[in-house]
Amino acid sequence: MECVVQGIIETQHVEALEILLQGLCGVRRERLRVHEICLKSGPNLGVVPSEVRLICNLEQTEPTWTVRFIGGAMRGAGAEQLSVLVRTVIESNASKNVLRLFYALGYKLDHELLRVGFAFHFQRGTQMTVTVSSVNKMLQLHATDEAVPVTPGIQMVEVTAPASSETYTEVALAVSSFCEYLAPLLHLSKPGISTGVVPTAAAAAASLMSDGGGTTL
């Protein structure tokens, strides 16, 4: 299970966001370059149609693979009141032939993406990960070297935190309060609810860039 919020930021303000995150997280950023392959079950397979993501981390010298299952979002009045989305996520590292296996099982390629950017992994009330990345599509099958941005000039920001059925309320609170620090630069909300870029971004970015993040926003 995880808590998640997403938002977007103009590429010109990403450097300012990085300075802010660096100050807030107190850890070094990690480079991010992942190839994400989304597979769907073939027309006849399964009680219900299913979807699975294969994530290939291209930052490693020897690319590593992870199978990721994203389940439905938590529902109910309690979940509605939260400003973050709580959903089931199960991950498993796998050997490099995982795509071949899923094809043999009857899964088909739905789409693929290349995410390029950076990530911060840190502890702030709870374990959190912030990723800032441009989302790219491939012009040819698996051709990650020839990827082009899906939304030029815009990058995606995602904050995730692992949670359980016992801890999700506290984790959601920790994520929400962290997001408030980023509010002058971008607004983060539940996935699927786009709130666009924020009007204060340019001024906040200029302020951060001028004093290296020393100003309290």
Partner: protein, 221 residues
């Protein structure tokens, strides 16, 4: 990691496996100074596709297996033998498979017994039992040679061990013998350096043999 051979018990024509054979095999291990060390257990699960149109079953793998090995308790192995695919994944892959609801677990077989130390060798003798049942379906023996990881380099040593084993067994009249059938690891993309994926492939091959033996026996009857 140390390499191993996984052998299965081939009953003589007209005989079937029984627990008396396990007792005798255990005595043979002890007669060559095998020291009993503890229990072990591996599990093989057969998966079958869940289809909306049963007539299309031929389009999906019929030999899709999942294997949990004691040597890698946090890993799980998925094998499609006919496609020569062996996947190593974290054990959480079983939860993902469950959530996807595209394949369901049909039946599980446990391989369980004791392991023994004999100098540089480790032996595991095990019964093959369906989950929640004492109905013996087969017998397996793992022979592991601890100092070497290269299958080719260890081959002579393994063969010499099997000669000693045959000599020890020959003093008894057992209604069958252990068979080593080495799968073509290259077809699965595996090299000479031994890995747990090799073990998983061997178990899938043993399973295939056990099914063939059961079918041959029921065919004769």
């Amino acid at each position: 990691m140390p390499l191993k051979w996984v052998l299965h018990w081939q009953p003589n024509a007209g005989t079937t496996v029984n627990s008396q054979i396990i007792n005798e095999v255990t005595q043979v291990v002890e007669s060559i100074n095998g020291i009993k060390e503890g229990r072990w257990k591996a599990t093989i699960t057969f998966y079958k596709p869940l289809l909306r149109e049963q007539a299309l079953v031929g389009e999906f793998p019929r030999d899709f297996l999942g294997i949990a090995l004691p040597e890698q308790p946090n890993k799980y192995y998925l094998i499609i033998r006919s496609s020569h695919i062996v996947l190593e994944a974290d054990s959480t892959i079983t939860m993902i498979m469950e959530k996807l609801q595209s394949y369901k677990q049909r039946v599980s077989l446990n391989f369980e017994g004791f392991h023994y130390q004999l100098g540089d060798f480790q032996l595991r003798v095990g019964k093959v039992l369906p989950n929640h049942s004492e109905n013996l379906r087969g017998i397996v023996m793992e022979v592991e040679y601890l100092p070497i990881s290269s299958m080719e380099k260890a081959r002579q040593m393994m063969e010499e061990f099997m000669d000693i084993w045959k000599q020890a067994v020959s003093k008894r009249t057992l209604p069958g013998h252990f068979v080593h059938m080495e799968p073509n690891f290259g077809e699965f993309g595996l090299g000479d350096q031994y890995s747990s994926q090799h073990t998983a492939v061997q178990y899938a091959a043993v399973m295939h043999q056990l099914i063939a033996t059961v079918q041959a026996v029921s065919g004769r009857n």
